[in-house]
Amino acid sequence: MEEKEEKNNTSATGKYKKAIFLLVAIVVFAGLIYVSVSFFGLGEGNKVAAKVNGNQILQSELQKRFDQDKKTAVSQGVDTSNPETVKQVKSKILKS
């Protein structure tokens, strides 16, 4: 009887260890995804800014185009430090 109880305890501990291991694995996996998204360009930049007949225009492409046009905009007196202005300029570039 005692032996059976001990077996049950051992089995319960094994299940508990497995659950902990699974939890740790999930946390590590989620962490890896987060790191990839944050540091390897799978995040904000790869978000879709628009779709034209199914073809995607990425936020990273919009940002690059904005950076390229920034100099001209500044020379025309556009305040690119104002977030609202940046939003308007980006919207204009996207629609162009």
Partner: protein
């Protein structure tokens, strides 16, 4: 970017192609205009554009140019004598010391033609937009 994408898609759909020779020739022309290869490289570097990206951009623009030439009647945008005279008359009513028409006739004609081309381009884009699926996210 959306209008450009629409025009590129329409160009491809109508079978317009741009060859490597077309791109090389256009880039050579741009180099000449800006003052040489080094100046162009510096300008590209200033705006953070690689040579490859520049080639792709030139390719797109050439494709769009060909498409527009095929779909916009440029001859119809030439300014007529009546339009030039009328534009000059309007300008002289609101501008003091306007130069004689003979001096600014070409400028007026160019402005009228550019405005007409812009209108035709806007109409064409509007037509493409109305038949497209566009999602701004």
């Amino acid at each position: 970017m959306i209008n450009t994408e629409l025009l590129v898609q329409a160009s491809k759909k109508s079978g317009i192609e741009v060859t490597q020779e077309d791109i090389d020739s256009e880039i050579a022309s741009v180099k000449k205009q800006v003052g040489g290869e080094e100046v162009l490289s510096k300008r590209l570097s200033d705006v953070g554009m690689s040579e490859d990206e520049f080639r792709q951009e030139v390719s797109k623009q050439l494709m769009i140019q060909k498409y527009l030439l095929k779909n916009i009647d440029i001859d119809s945008t030439k300014a007529t004598e009546d339009e030039i005279n009328s534009a000059y008359k309007q300008a002289s009513e609101v501008t003091d010391n306007i130069p004689p028409l003979s001096e600014i006739k070409d400028q007026i004609a160019t402005k009228i033609a550019t405005d007409k081309q812009q209108k035709l381009l806007n109409d064409l884009i509007e037509k493409l937009r109305s038949g497209a699926s566009i999602e701004i996210l």
